[in-house]
Amino acid sequence: MADALTISGLDCFYGETQVLFGLGLTLRQGEVHCLLGRNGAGKTTTLKAIMGLVSARTGSVRLGDIELTGLPPHEVPKAGVAYVPQGRRLFAEMTVAENIEIGLMTRQRGKDVREAVLDIFPVLRERLRQRSGTLSGGEQQQLAMARALCLEPRVLLLDEPTEGLMPSMIAKIRQSVASLRERGVSTILVEQRVEAVLSVADRVSFIENGRVRETVGVDRLREDPDIVKRYVGVS
């Protein structure tokens, strides 16, 4: 498979404190690539660095032929990378339909994209006129993902999408991620739940102290659960 996104030698800082140390990662076309690591290891920072929210001092983030480092953050989604941050961050005062509309307006996408997105998240179709702040946690997460998909991204970045959700909703989110893979969207998924990783991911990268320590296929993870214990502290 060809690479959808290639990160190499990425050094990022918060002020004068270095948080990513020559980080390297490849996301293959159509794969779900999971980032695992302890709190503060650098998973969310990696996603923010891809989006240009944390500027890289050295290194490269390439989306196919496009170099993303140095682009203003609002140009990165237009290039084809969509980001669903931790905590959803919806426009709470807007309705579900308006949240989706805002996503569609960026690339002036029409009704067909809206319909395709609502097909992936059918529950939103019933809630179009409801204020998004009044949705349940799982529905809010689905709306956050739907809004990101309105950009028709080549790469989707999901930061802990199942955080704080009840088991039935977690299952739905996992199904959605799997369905996106079938549609050819490459996904980087930051996740804390190992069982969620095993059920949807193709490969897993372990991040520790701002560096990718090891990247393995999910089958290897099933065979050798000690790898998880080594980097995350649980299995």
Partner: protein
């Protein structure tokens, strides 16, 4: 959704028609007050665009109102410019000033933005005194009655005539109201609301939030300057009070009272505030003549009650509770 749009358009047409009809029924005092209120409501609408929709709380909007006021007034007094040229000069002054201030002030956020805009406005206020030989400071300038007219061929439109003045104020109010309605319902308006709700998220959806905020600042400055230019042309006076901090706080108060991020809230807030001050002064004159200086106490109590029962302003609360379609 189409039904909601129809209701919103119908409401705006009814408000404009009602203001037109009031011209024929109001007694002279209230007729004059309402003309002034409509011009000041335009000022509040400009403020509302930035504060209500884009979520940027400025404490320096007096500078844009004053830019229109002095931009129109000074050429009329010193160079004998006519009304159309003076109005255009006032408008241009507001556009240029808001673009420059926006480029600098929008690098800050939150409290810093409030302070930076307030400081720029204070610079503007002091400049009025610094150039006192032109502006005559707090004494101000009076525009001669004969200068406040528009010549259409053989026809002369006298803007000092109460009816003409009222209609001119209504025309400006109606144009700005409709333009605001179109703007806030457009994709630009929705992006502004998205920025207010969560700027970083809006940027992550591919929007250049700085450019959108700057556009909102310029549109807001232009509307406020149009109100300032109209004020000097219709009421014939330019003074430093209009550049003071008081005139930066008043539009905030009017918008909060009427309902931030509602198109008609600025009008409701301005009317209410005017009559609240007027009415409480009159009440005290009749029932407690020795206490007439404490009219602001009554205004304060009334405002506290309004905040308690209408926390999002009058129209904002009505929209939340009963009429979600209100724009």
């Amino acid at each position: 959704m189409k039904g909601d749009a129809c209701k919103a358009i119908a409401l705006h047409v009814i408000v404009i028609a009602a203001l037109f009809a009031l011209n024929f029924v109001l007694p002279p005092y209230h007729h004059g007050v309402l003309a002034r209120v409509m011009v000041l409501a335009v000022f509040a609408m400009g403020y509302n665009l930035l504060f209500g929709y884009a979520g940027l709380l400025s404490l320096g909007h007096a500078m844009f109102f004053a830019a229109g006021l002095y931009g129109a007034g000074l050429p009329m007094v010193h160079f004998g410019w006519g009304v159309p040229g003076a109005f255009a000069a006032g408008l241009l002054a507001g556009v240029l000033l808001s673009a420059v201030i926006g480029l600098l002030a929008l690098r800050t956020k939150g409290v810093a933005f409030m302070i930076v805009t307030m400081m720029f406005a204070q610079v503007g206020y002091l400049l009025v005194y610094y150039f006192g030989s032109w502006t005559r400071g707090d004494e101000g300038l009076v525009i001669q009655q004969q200068a406040r007219a528009i010549q259409f061929g053989a026809t002369r439109l006298d803007l000092t005539n109460p009816v003409t003045r009222y209609m001119a104020a209504l025309a400006l109010f109606a144009i700005v109201l409709i333009a605001t309605l179109i703007m806030v319902r457009s994709s630009f308006g929705r992006v502004l609301v998205a920025i207010r709700e969560n700027e970083e998220r809006t940027r992550m959806l591919g929007y250049d939030t700085f450019a959108n905020k700057l556009a909102a600042m310029v549109a807001s400055g232009a509307i406020c300057a149009a109100a300032g230019a109209a004020y000097v042309i219709l009421f014939g006076y330019v003074g430093s009070t209009f550049a003071s901090i008081q005139y930066s706080i008043l539009p905030l108060l009017w918008v909060l009272l009427g309902g931030a991020a509602t198109t008609l809230g600025p009008l409701v807030g301005t009317v209410l505030m005017f009559y609240l001050i007027d009415g409480s002064g009159d009440l005290l004159k009749i029932y407690a003549p020795g206490w007439n200086i404490s009219y602001l106490g009554i205004v304060g109590v009334a405002l506290i009650l309004l905040v308690l029962f209408f926390p999002k302003g009058i129209l904002g609360t009505i929209r939340d509770r009963w009429a979600r379609w209100l724009p």
